[in-house]
């Protein structure tokens, strides 16, 4: 057998890139095969586009109150009608997508890394540290998320930022639990033992070899949780603990419209439908991501 000792840098780069492309291509095939996931992804992409181009899509100023035009039914002038203060609901829903996305993304950005770090650490180290961290997470998990978020939001005071912190605090334990469970499953696997026997440090094993194995289930869980996060944020808004008027937040809008629910149904219902569609979109996408990230799916 002849031994090649040199490898062309460009050749290596090309091969690496090709491998990555092959992986993406397989992912694309799996994505396309799952119709519901395609629907979910489209909804989320649509939401992102709406948030990005809100100023172009909005027909009115979302804060401008035109009292004579209050509680108008949906029409060509006001697609979704107007609310009790004469604001254009369509424009408020469009701008509200920004608020919703901000909350969802920030909560995800705070609670998942937190949960991941705590979970992997607890699972890998084990022993008393594991016990303490997991009992702590049990305390959080003992309460329904919304109740916990309400408690924190009430303590911190109303406002979007505080709502984000409150929801994050209520959320991390479930990711920590998940990451710990995955870590326990992976920790004693042969490939971790191999890397240990080669002299890898514990930090390296946790970061480089165990965390990637936890990521897929965390991502799946997160995308399924996105809906709940949005609902919790809306719930806090509805209760007056989240976003404050006049912020165009969907939950707040539903709350505002409840006094008109019988005669002017659109004030509450249309922002509600927006919540429903987005939550559904995230859930559909979450299911599909699980399939794509599962390496076993690729074999068949």
């Amino acid at each position: 057998m002849n031994v090649t000792h040199a490898i062309d840098k460009n050749e290596a780069r090309r091969r690496r890139w090709e491998a990555r492309r092959r992986y993406l291509k397989d992912s694309y095939i799996l994505w396309r095969r799952n119709r519901l996931m395609v629907v979910g992804t489209c909804i989320i992409v649509f939401l992102l586009l709406v948030a990005a181009f809100a100023p172009l899509l909005a027909t009115h100023d979302s804060y401008e109150q035109i009292l004579p035009d209050r509680l108008l039914a949906p029409s060509t002038k006001h697609y979704f009608g107007t609310d009790g203060l004469g604001r254009d609901i369509y424009s408020r829903v469009v701008y509200g997508s920004r608020v919703t996305l901000t909350i969802a993304c920030l909560v995800a950005a705070i609670s998942t890394p937190l949960g991941l770090v705590i979970g992997v650490f607890a699972g890998y180290v084990g022993g008393a540290i594991d016990e303490i961290l997991m009992r702590l997470s049990d305390v959080f998990l003992a309460f329904p998320k919304l109740i916990l978020a309400i408690a924190f939001a009430a303590a911190l005071g109303p406002g979007v930022e505080n709502a984000i912190v409150a929801i994050s605090v209520a959320n991390w334990p479930s990711y920590a639990r998940l990451a710990r469970a995955e870590t326990l499953g992976v920790r004693n696997n042969d490939y971790i033992q191999v890397i240990r026997s080669m002299g890898a440090s514990n930090l390296r094993i946790m970061v480089g070899h165990i965390t990637p194995m936890c990521l897929s289930s965390i991502i799946v869980r997160l995308s399924l949780d996105m809906g709940t996060i949005i609902l919790t944020a809306a719930g806090l808004g509805f209760l007056g603990l989240g976003a404050q008027p006049p912020t165009p937040e969907w939950g707040l809008m539903v709350s505002d419209g409840r006094q008109f629910l019988v005669d002017q149904w659109w004030v509450s219902t249309l922002p509600g439908i927006a919540i429903l569609i987005v939550v559904m979109g995230f859930n559909l996408m979450g299911d599909g991501i699980r399939d794509i990230l599962d390496p076993h799916q690729r074999q068949s």
Partner: protein
């Protein structure tokens, strides 16, 4: 670290009275009430260039022994010397240094490769861990070794799940060899593979051994494979070494009754040779409470009273100075 013990440099690995016990904890207070004596007082030496075959049935402690050498199983008592250095309970820097020289190949090639890494990353990880190369030098050295075990650049950036069992085992070999170890512990490297693939891997292992000046600790339950691969053999039963010797001595002049049973249980592929197997009664006892005397006594067809109380030492019985058996009544010609 200084070479405190005075042993010739020819000896690569020396194990002295090694015990590996796993505590069994139960109940609320996690009180230890028993222990699994996986390895229960084992001693042997491995000369440089040896292929030492370690055979025994599942649960006899051969895997634990291999893991203890690489530091994956906690040593309860006893010593392991590698190149004259004591390597039991090393931590930090010393453990890291030791890791370069002793590599372990696992039985199941499906679970020993990280599913989310490419072949290049899998094989190159050792170089990264020990700062032996970086950037494209890693790719280069990985490719050189992959070529040696029969892969081309085509395969280098694929994921492990795209390969068959035999291919995976070759990737695992490349991963171990990239650190240029002196000792390779092979834990049932072919028992998950088909015979025709097994033949390829065994041939490769033999070639690599002379090419890279390797010493093998070859753990297997398959006597045919061990006979083909090893120049010396150790037979384990229930955490103890019952017989060691040169391969031919073990196969043609077995002294310990267990070795004889093991050899006679091996089905022959010749349908015309009538096969007289010695059938054993019962199952192997658990290593939780091994019998006080000879570990094999409860199943031994030739057990006598003395065997039940007095644990035999591993000593020379016949004329061969290399052939040892732990039996009070060994078979001698």
């Amino acid at each position: 670290m200084q070479n405190k013990t005075n042993i010739p440099a020819k000896t690569l690995l020396r194990i002295e009275d090694l015990h590996v016990h796993f505590p069994i904890r139960e109940g609320m207070l996690k009180r230890q009430h028993a222990s699994v004596k996986a390895v229960n007082g084992i001693s042997f030496t491995l000369e440089r260039g040896d292929v030492f075959g370690l055979v025994g049935e599942s649960g006899c402690g051969k895997t634990t022994l291999g893991r203890a050498v690489v530091g994956l199983a906690p040593v309860t008592s006893g010593d392991i010397y590698f190149n004259g250095q004591r390597i039991v309970g090393l931590t930090g820097r010393e453990a890291y240094e030791r890791a370069r020289h002793i590599q372990l190949i696992f039985q199941d090639p499906y679970s020993s490769l990280h599913p989310r890494k490419t072949v290049c990353d899998l094989v190159g990880v050792g170089l990264k861990l020990h700062d032996l190369a970086e950037g494209y030098e890693i790719d280069e050295r990985v490719l050189a070794l992959l070529n040696r075990v029969g892969f081309s650049i085509e395969h280098m950036y694929r994921y492990a799940h795209e390969f068959s069992g035999g291919q995976r085992q070759r990737i695992a070999l490349a991963r171990a060899l990239i650190l240029q170890p002196e000792l390779l512990i092979l834990d049932e490297p072919t028992s998950a593979l088909d015979v025709s693939v097994q033949a390829q891997i065994l041939n490769l292992l033999k070639e690599l051994q002379s090419e890279f000046h390797l010493t093998y600790l070859f753990i297997s339950h398959d006597l045919g494979v061990v006979r083909y691969m090893s120049n010396r053999i150790g037979v384990m039963y229930l955490g103890s070494m019952v017989e060691t010797g040169l391969t031919n001595d073990i196969f043609y002049r077995p002294q310990h009754p267990y070795t004889r049973v093991l050899l006679s249980s091996l089905p022959s592929i010749d349908p015309d040779t009538p096969h007289i197997g010695i059938l054993l009664e019962g199952d192997p006892p658990t290593p939780i409470n091994p019998p006080p005397g000879c570990p094999f006594a409860p199943r031994c067809p030739e057990c006598k009273d003395r065997c039940r109380i007095d644990k035999p030492e591993l000593v020379q019985h016949g004329q061969d100075s290399t052939h040892f058996a732990a039996c009070h009544f060994p078979h001698l010609e």
